[in-house]
Amino acid sequence: MTNSIDEIRDSEMMFVIGSNTTEAHPIIAMEMKRARQRGAKLVVADPRKIWLAEMADLHLQLKPGTDVWLLSAMAHVIIEEDLHDKAFIAKHTTDFESVAQKVKSYSPEAAEEITGVPAEDIRTAARWYASTKAAGIYYTLGITEHTHGTDNVYCLANLVLMTGHLGVRSAGMNPLRGQNNVQGANDAGATPIYYPGYQKVVDPSIREIFESAWGVSLSPNNGINLNEMMKEMARGNLKAVYVMGEDIVISEPNVTKVEVGLNACEFVVCQEIFHNETTRFADVILPGACFAEKDGIFTNSDRRVQRVRKAVDPPGNARPDWEILCDIARASGYDMPDYPSSKEVFAEFASLTPQLRGMSYDRLEANVKGLHWPCPDEDHPGTPTLHLDGPIIGVAPFQAVDYRPSDELPDNDYPLVLSTGRTLYHYNSATQTRRDAGPVAKQRGNFIEIHRRDAKILGIAHGDKVEVSSRRGTIQAEAWVSPRVRFGCIWMPMHFAENRANLLTNDAGDAITGTGEYKVCAVRVRRSKQATEALAEVASG
């Protein structure tokens, strides 16, 4: 997030796209509710009529995967109606002309054809966004989990830049992170192309710093990302994996392929707190500690570093994960320092990470609201709002983008579009939440949301058990006939191990990030074969 969560309540307008905030980020949603209560306008773009959409001044219920069209049409309107911020563009950006040219062909009327969103609504949203000062964009995986996820993000960035909504309080460009420490994991360099602090592994001068700090020579080559690892595993090129705290057999797209890969591995080690789908493949299982049993930091969506503190001991012989990692390194011949506690690990991590250099446990102790990076030195108060003095990188380039359809579109055999996501009550593979009575009482098992017309065509009643299939697999679910989804689209949560949504999803990844296309794949739903054919007929006719 370019801006902090605390700023949301003072928004004048919120453009929420591809984020079911009330379910995935409930407390950020509370701030959005507060802003709305205080009179802020709310525009929600989502294929589903999610809770926020019900509360919105405008709901743009686009077809899944057509974000580039919608956002380009908004840019089209802003430029056409001369609502763009020429001074900001001139001072802080480059390549505006390329985008201005590109979006000329993306008229709202044409966008209406593709996205299903009325042209007038697109115009209204664009006008509101461009003419409101404290207007923030909020997005989540509905934007990124596409083969054109990066393009979607570029389109959003183009909107932010052309309206000068960067470096403005309660505005900005705000991806909401899905997990407690996505930001922190990336900051820490758990990524194949960056050392801690987004410092490139292929940059020799950077590599030198780390080689000297760690006392070894380091690989000069970029590593492969998770999506690629899964594929290389299946191809037999990746022979061993060390999986810490992730149930890849549930969370990766097209998990059948992941299972093939894990079976092909010569060695699999899992570091976990519960047995899960992935530990079935493990040669060694190392019992780790949950968040209540160890010290450390989590970095949240708004780049805020906050302390995690040990409240109880890990059960039995389980140990904090950081200690285990140190032992593995030492046993493998690397001279890992003997850190007395996580505090010293953080000190080393921060010293090598320019954005965190001014942070320490002592400072985090003193700042109960946490510290936002960048925090380059000990006297720096942290940076809740980025780019206040113009883009950090100097000038920000516009990125002209062409629309590309999703990798797998519905056809006669698989006539429905499946999107997957999270619910309020469960979390990821639900190993934690399914062990608590409330989430289970609210959502016992897997379900799909389906439009009443699709349900009628398929002869499916609310509560029926159905079979959902894609080219990659078949699972069971309960059908919830729901006013939330579009005709021709179904939605399914990702949480349930016995009926894994990711047996269905497409592992085609975004060219740049490798993120899988969790939001669009073609499926069929049936109680009987005839019903499926009937639907295919309607869809094609």
């Binding site: 407390i27 996505v182 006392g215 061993a240 890849i248 299982i285 969506s301 309020l424 409330g438």
Partner: protein, 358 residues
């Protein structure tokens, strides 16, 4: 935007800004005005009447939580009139409340601020009014329990449910002395729009809303040791207080409103989904798969050695880039740092990643 001016608070000149309430000014000045129905996250309603003060020029006592100050306003927070008001008001509350043997409002595991207030005034020994206030005996939700005889109808819970959580699952129902907190049709919260965030429990000043899972006598046992931490679910980064009793996390609450980014709020997962911590299914010892494919318990020395050997075997056979290290956005920053350091420094590969996109 806000003009600054002076008002007189208990005879003392203090500065205030336009839009501020008497309560806010007094709090800043260290003058304590008691209240039960006020919560900074909610629109003031002045319903509990505890915070009434004297405003010069006003015939009636006025609620400090809602009364907006203007230049030169004179406020009295202490007087014989206010003292009498508090005495009778607190005693009226007592006549409508479950009392203990000491004739003080009963205290649940969730505390009771009315009890504290009642200790500041003499007991009038008013006869109980036995208000016909209904509860929800059939409510089988696993987390939230409502005790109508401890409820003072300040409506913090219903207002929270409306204004903050915005799910409108509970409501004030009925009228007069029969007023109660209800769901539509008095259904179980599970069968309503309730999202089990538990904010109602958190905001309840009298412990009429109780967390079913937490020990009932948490307060009486002298409370718990509480450890401030960060929630381990989504990316918001809510701050939590983990309450520990006998080496177990027995309750999770949010720090006070205003202190942290979550402003006193939590969701169902953050507040209630902590059973996993002490769940019997936790893996408690290292396991190594034997020749038959069965997992066998092992010592840490054995497990570390086996891990190291397994990884090094592959590395020697196929090279460093045949290894993949999958870190976790659920683990701490330090652990992610160490995981990539292990991959890079100990095993020589940049093949390290985590579920960055999910």
């Amino acid at each position: 935007m806000s003009d600054s001016f002076h008002i007189k608070l208990d005879g003392k000149s203090v500065s205030a800004s336009s839009g501020e309430t008497v309560f806010e000014v007094a709090k800043r000045e260290g003058v304590e005005i008691p209240t039960l129905c006020h919560d900074t996250r909610l629109e003031p309603v002045g319903a509990c009447r505890v915070c009434l003060v004297e405003v010069a020029g006003q015939r009636r006592l006025q609620p400090g939580c809602a009364w907006v100050v203007t230049p030169d306003m004179e406020i009295q927070t202490q007087s014989d009139r206010i003292e009498r008001h508090r005495k009778v008001l607190y005693n009226l509350y007592k006549s409508d409340h479950d009392l203990d043997d000491a004739r003080l409002p009963l205290e649940t595991g969730n505390g009771n601020q009315l009890r504290e207030l009642c200790q500041t005034v003499p007991d009038m020994n008013l006869a109980p009014v036995e208000a016909p206030r209904s509860d929800r005996p059939m409510d089988d939700n696993p987390y939230i329990q409502f005790e109508p005889d401890l409820c003072i109808l300040c409506a913090r819970c219903t207002r929270y449910c409306d204004e903050v959580e915005a799910v409108n699952a509970i409501t004030l129902s009925n009228r007069g002395s029969a007023t109660t907190i209800a769901t539509a049709g008095q259904r179980s919260l599970i069968d309503t729009t309730c999202e089990l965030c538990g904010g109602c429990i958190d905001t309840c000043p009298t412990g009429a809303l109780i967390e079913k899972k937490a020990p009932k006598n948490l307060v009486q046992l002298g409370g718990t040791e509480s450890v401030r931490s960060t929630c381990n679910f989504c990316g918001v980064g809510c701050q939590l207080n983990l309450h520990v009793q006998n080496e177990r996390v027995v309750k999770v609450t949010s720090p006070e409103p205003g202190e942290t980014l979550n402003d006193g709020n939590l969701c169902v997962k953050g507040r209630f989904a902590y059973d996993f911590i002490h769940h019997k299914d936790r893996i408690t010892e290292p396991l190594i798969r034997d020749a038959n494919g069965d997992l066998q318990p092992a010592t840490w020395e054995e497990a570390i050695a086996a891990t190291s050997a397994g990884l090094n075997r592959v590395r020697e056979k196929y090279g460093s880039d045949a290894l993949g290290f999958i870190s976790s956005s659920r683990c701490t920053g330090e652990e992610n740092y160490l995981m990539q350091k292990v991959a890079r420094a100990a095993f020589g590969t940049n093949n390290v990643h985590q579920c960055a996109a999910t």
